[in-house]
């Protein structure tokens, strides 16, 4: 199937069509295959549902998880334990299923809390998901007669339906879950997941609640895995600790990698195919097969990180798929009073701000105020603490001491999301954006904090405030909404970044060397935009710049930083003409606290 961007109803139409086709295949399947094959397939179908969740977590969101098998095992053991020790029947069955899913989601919540906090390294998160199945298998081992320990439980009462019925259940679950998954990754929310994978830090600064999303995703994935595990146990009538184990968890990763991470259908098909083949072979061959799968896995990771799916997708592109869908339309966002409107307090107030790394003091007590409708430039030689200052304003955990107040409210130790919610917008020195998202998708992402992101739909309009639309017009980006970010020129990327930051409706704009690498014409354009932002839209803009000509042209006030403290501040001409500042820039600052 080709890969153009589907709009709302078309995506739903395609999903329905796909689901119906797959459903038909599932319905007909057991009538065409022999009992042995059907048996193997049922297991594979249940497992493939879990593989799909791994792709959503890892392929799309970038969360490397070894632990989906743990939730699969929870569902399986819920079934076996309830039926073995308590009772059997439709009501017990429903209870067991509910227990399984509930327990899995609770464990997922705890795991997520442990693994996905702001500042956690992805490695740590992966290790927690690694520890999860290990802890669970050990718990099962220590359960004695209750859990069956290392032998597991078998022969418990279950529904002894004909094999076709189980095939339809397993197949039905897989089709339903995959269809929902497909709609999820195609939606606005799905693009947020990809953005998290590509540049998590930038997402945080756009106000995206990354940790909460990851935890919620993990819980949903746990629920699906538990349901699949429940079905698996009911069918096979046997549970063993291996179902919750680490080895199965990594097999899911292998299927995902081989099928093509981030394609959803690839891993599902790979999961079914590889598992069926492994079960179908007998004798020594299963070990050889596992060996080959392992080698293929290594080859794919090293040489083809995106698996085999892109090969098939490239072939699919040869089939004409109709005209591409038009991207979302830009509309005006309702003009709302920002957080700054209610209060008389200045948009930005920094007092006695310090930042030390061990014994190295980078910022030594900076006090300054940023007013509305003002463009304040922060200048100073390299390494003097300008970017650090900006970091301390946008991330409450950064500073070592002092206070930061946005619109009269203290930032405290808040994460970047909190600063963004309070009205801070920050651009970065390097333009690292989201390579595989289009301009339209980036803008929609930036609106998440204000407008939310639809789970199974894609909005066909992007609501942007006037300043953002201004920039898009000025840079010509409004003609390039369907362009992927990686194809934009450097100047356009800067413009897009600025538009995205403005889309979050900030009252304080922190810009870190916005003109770096721009041509003279582009500098002029940016300068005009920034001036308009302060004059017409009343923003407070704080600018770090090296280009003193640029500073002179557009600033209202200038602050000079030197060795972590404010050397001087005042009107542009006053500061620029000052001998002290000239001396500092020319390197004669020997008497101003120079090193001995």
């Amino acid at each position: 199937m080709a890969e153009p961007r589907f709009a709302l109803s078309r995506a739903h139409r395609t999903a329905a069509l796909g689901a119906l086709t797959a459903g038909a295949v599932v319905a007909v399947g057991p009538l065409l295959l022999d009992t042995y094959m059907t048996n193997i397939l049922i297991r594979a179908l249940f497992l493939a549902a879990v593989v799909m969740t791994v792709d959503v977590l890892w392929g799309y969101t970038g969360v490397l998880t070894f632990g989906q098998s743990a939730f699969f095992g929870v569902g399986a053991y819920a079934c076996a334990l309830v039926f073995t020790h308590y009772g059997f029947g439709a009501d017990w069955g429903l209870l067991a299923l509910a227990l399984g899913i509930g327990a899995a989601m609770t464990i997922a919540l705890l795991t997520g809390w442990l693994a996905f906090f702001h500042g956690a390294s992805p490695l740590y998160g992966s290790i927690i998901t690694l520890a999860l199945p290990i802890v669970l298998t050990q718990a099962i081992f220590s359960g004695g007669r209750f859990t069956g320990s290392s032998s597991g439980l078998s022969g418990f009462p279950t529904w002894y339906w004909p094999v076709e019925v189980y095939f339809w259940i397993a197949g039905g679950l897989l089709v339903a879950v995959t269809t929902l998954g497909w709609l999820l990754v195609r939606s606005d929310f799905g693009r947020v997941l990809v953005a998290i994978r590509e540049n998590e830090e930038r997402c945080a600064y756009l106000g995206v609640p990354v940790s909460r999303i990851k935890i919620a995703l993990m819980m949903a994935a746990a629920a699906v895995a538990a349901a699949a595990g429940f079905g698996y146990a009911a069918f096979t009538n046997v549970v063993a600790p291996e179902l919750a184990g680490f080895l199965l968890g990594t097999e899911f990763l292998i299927y995902t990698a081989l099928g093509g991470r981030g394609t959803l259908l690839g891993p599902v098909l790979a999961g079914v195919g590889i598992d069926v083949t492994a079960s179908w072979l007998s004798g020594q061959l299963p070990f050889l097969w596992k060996l080959m799968t392992g080698v293929a896995f290594i080859v794919v990771i090293v040489l083809l990180p995106r698996g085999l799916a892109p090969v098939f997708m490239a072939l699919g592109r040869l089939i004409p798929g109709g005209p591409p869908e038009p991207p979302a339309a830009l509309v005006a966002a309702p003009r709302r009073a920002g957080p700054g409107a209610e209060t008389a307090a200045p948009p930005l107030r920094i007092e006695a701000l310090t930042r030390s790394y061990g014994s190295l003091q980078v910022l030594k007590g900076v006090t300054m105020t940023g007013h509305a409708s003002e463009l304040l430039s922060v200048v100073g030689p390299n390494g003097v603490g300008k970017t650090t200052l900006m970091r301390c304003v946008s991330d409450g955990a950064e500073r070592s001491g002092g206070t930061v107040e946005i619109n009269g409210v203290a930032l405290g130790r808040g994460a970047p999301q909190r600063a963004t919610a309070m009205g801070v917008g920050r651009s970065f020195q390097n333009t690292s954006l989201f390579d595989s998202l289009t301009v339209a998708e980036c803008l929609q992402l930036a609106r998440m904090r204000v407008d939310g992101a639809r789970l199974f739909h894609r909005r066909d309009e992007i609501r942007l405030p006037e300043p953002a639309r201004d920039i898009l017009r000025a840079t010509g980006l409004d003609q390039k909404l369907a362009e992927e970010t990686r194809n934009l020129s450097h100047g356009m990327k800067r413009g897009l970044e600025l538009a995205m930051v403005l889309a979050t409706e900030p009252s304080v704009l922190l810009l870190d060397e916005p003109t770096a690498g721009l041509t003279k014409a582009e500098r002029g354009a940016i300068g005009a935009v920034l001036t308009r932002l302060t004059r017409e839209f009343g923003l407070c803009i704080v600018l770090i710049e090296h280009d003193l000509d640029f500073v002179r042209e557009i600033s209202d006030r200038v602050v000079v930083l030197h060795q972590g403290a404010i050397l001087m501040e005042g009107a542009v001409e006053e500061v620029v003409a000052s001998d002290l500042v000239k001396a500092v820039y020319a390197g004669h600052g020997a008497d101003r606290g120079a090193a001995a």
Binding site: G517, A586, A590
Partner: protein, 234 residues
């Protein structure tokens, strides 16, 4: 005097946009070329490109006639190029002695050349066992220069060594650099914002603006000094 270091049409940058644009310079053996310009104009990037840390987008670099464009940093170092960078200059947790040892390829060479270093910078000899991170800013610059010189380089790339130094220390640095020119016959590329220091030490100068060479001249020439002031006005 044929150029020991010949740079022709060199362009490089960190992303799509070039920060160094079509730069052509040459430095002969025993010659000091000062590279001047305001902040963010591409001076450090030029040195990093020469050292192999930034991949060139175009142009050539020749060392003593041989082409070395885009060679990896460790091979440039072994070819006799020493780099005294502006940031991440020393191993803060290693001692002065360990930092100096890392300036040469074998410990035998270190012991052989240490007396020369001690003569030029006696304070380094006194502090051999001290952790580099505990030295004062000026002492760290001294250590940086000692480490560059202990390698007896053919080409010395110096990035804003005078920044934040007291006048006496600045003089000491000037002495060390001119000694390198005299005793080693090294070609020195001196990136500086401190114009006075640069012109006092260098033979020639070049001005970089927005990544391009906009002016070149002899350091002693008063007419050149006048246009220089224009380019560097704050």
């Amino acid at each position: 005097m044929s150029a020991l270091l010949a740079i022709e049409g060199l362009s490089s940058g960190y992303g799509a946009a070039p920060v160094v644009r079509d730069v052509s310079l040459s430095v002969g053996a025993g010659e000091i070329l000062a590279v001047l310009g305001k902040n963010g104009m591409g001076k450090s990037t030029l040195l990093k490109t020469l050292m192999g840390f930034v991949r060139p987008m175009g142009g050539t670099v020749r060392l003593d006639g041989a082409e070395v464009t885009g060679r990896a940093p460790h091979r440039m170092a072994r070819s006799g190029v020493a780099h005294a960078p502006q940031e991440f200059t020393l191993f803060q947790d290693l001692t002065v002695a360990e930092n100096l040892r890392l300036g040469v390829q074998t410990d035998a060479l270190f012991h052989e050349r240490m007396p020369d270093v001690a003569a030029a910078f006696p304070r380094m000899a006194e502090r051999l066992r001290q952790r580099a991170g505990t030295l004062s800013g000026g002492e760290q610059k001294m250590l940086l220069m000692s480490r560059a010189l202990i390698a007896r380089p053919q080409v010395l790339l110096v990035d804003e060594i005078s920044e934040g130094l007291q006048p006496t220390m600045v003089d000491r640095m000037a002495e060390a650099i001119t000694a390198a020119r005299r005793e080693l016959g090294a070609a020195v590329l001196l990136v500086e914002q401190n114009v006075a220091f640069a012109l006092a030490v260098a033979d020639r100068f070049a001005v970089l603006k927005l990544g391009e060479v906009v002016e070149q001249g002899a350091a002693g020439d008063p007419a050149a000094a006048a246009t220089l002031a224009d380019h560097l006005k704050v």
